[in-house]
Structures are given as C-alpha cells and as structure tokens.
C-alpha cells in the first residue's frame, strides 16, 4: 500500500513539475502580456494542484493535508484576483491614446 502511495506521489508531483515547465515555456513563447498570464496562472495552478495532490498521502495527518489544500486555494485566490488586474492594466497600456 505504501509503495502504491509513494508511486502515486511520484507520478503526481512529476506531472505537476511538467505543468510548471509548460507554464514557463508559455511565459517565454506567448506573444502578449495577457496570453503569458494564461500560461502563468492556468498551467501553474494545475501544476501546484497536482503537486499538492501528490503530497497528500505523505502529509501524515488530516491537518497537514488540509494545510496543503489551503495553500493551493490561497494561490488560486491570489491568481484569480491579481491576474485580471494585470490583464486590465496591460489592455489599458496597449490601447491607442
């Protein structure tokens, strides 16, 4: 059982890292500020979610597991509030005077 859970952790964390790599590739490749924000928020949010999911079996209790989930939720909340604000600033700066 422990081997299975360790395997799950490895797969999920590795998948999470892949999404962080993809987010960084998008940051470098995408053509405009708002598209880069899509990469930074969506791919990284999923990456962090998968890493959290992978670490849940290793958390050693309900409270540490909840703490991991809360960290993911706080990262989502921060991204969801700041992302649209930066997109708005980028649009207003790009707009013709």
């Amino acid at each position: 059982m422990s081997l299975l859970l360790d395997g799950f952790t490895l797969v999920a964390v590795f998948a999470g890292i892949l999404f962080f790599v993809a987010g960084t590739a998008g940051l470098l490749r995408f053509p405009d500020t708002s598209s880069r924000l899509h990469a930074l928020t969506k791919a990284d949010h999923l990456g962090l979610g998968l890493i959290v999911l992978g670490l849940l079996p290793q958390a050693g209790g309900v409270l540490p597991a909840l703490k991991l989930l809360v960290i993911w939720a706080l990262a989502l909340l921060a991204g969801a509030t700041v992302g649209p604000l930066i997109a708005r600033l980028a649009r207003e700066e790009d707009a013709p005077p």
Binding site: L18, F19, V21, A22, G23, A25, G26, R29, F30, P31, D32, S34, S35, L37, H38, A39, T41, K42, A43, H45, L46, G47, G49, L63, L66, K67, V70, L76, L77, G79, A80, T81, G83, P84, A87, R88, A90, R91, E92
Partner: protein, 167 residues
Amino acid sequence: MAAAGAPPRGPTLAAAARGAAFLGLWVVLAGPAPDGLVVGLLAAGFATWASLRLMPPLPWRPRPGALLLLVLRFPWQALRAGTEVALLALDPRRRPHPGMLAWTPRLKAGRAQDAFLAYASLLPGTLPAGPLDGGAIAIHALDSRTPVGEAMTQEEARFAQAIGADG
C-alpha cells in the same frame, strides 16, 4: 421577529460564521497549539471586523447542490485549462490565437459580478481584462476563434445559481 433592542439576526450570524471560518483557517495554517491560539483568536477577530467593514453581508442564499456541483466541476475545469495552455506552450506546431472580445454579463456590476470574473479567470481560455463602456467586460481569449462569450454566459448562469445571486 427580533426582540426589541436585539441586534438584527443576519449580521450577527454572518459575523459568527466568518469568525469561525477565519479561526478554522488559522488552526489549519498555524496548528492547534494552545499558546498560538490566543494570537489566532485576535487575528480571527480582526479579520472578521475588517471583512464585515469591507464586505458587508449580502442576502445571497447559496444553493448547496448547485454549489457542490460547481466545486466538484472545478478540478475538471482546472485540468482542461492547464492542459490547453501546456499543449499550446510546449507543442512548437501550435500557437495561440489571442484576441480581446467584449462580453456582456447578466449579473449586475457589483460583488457577484466581481466574484464571477475572478472565477472566470481560472476557467479554460478566458481572462477578464476590465470593464468597457456600456456595462460590457473585456475578455482576453487565448483562442479567439472559439465561442468564448457563449461559454462565459453558461458559466455565469451556473455560478449565479450556485451562490444564489440569480434571484
């Protein structure tokens, strides 16, 4: 009917619920150790006061079933959103077709609309980018060839129903 002189029931309940939620958050983040709990109680009290000042309670009645569906659907949406972006970023044969479009929300300007726009920024392919003239919202789409506006309207209806802001 409230007894004469008693504070209205709604705000007291809201304060109690928010205070309990903040204290719960503290316990999860800082642990249940009794010596830290005093600081936690103070922090939760201050957070409750600030949240009531900044965000007075509204008469929304969330529908538990619809809210649960929305929450359960979210991991699937996050998976779709992340995979879509990752494929675009990593596959050299694909490239984004970004574009800005004007989308008219059904929710009135205010907290429910703000909450939905924050939520929509986590959904596949859409990123709200501020208000436009005439009540429309600028939406940055990663693939502007897809029917982004219709998807937003459908999601908005689900969201409004879940938080009870559609009445």
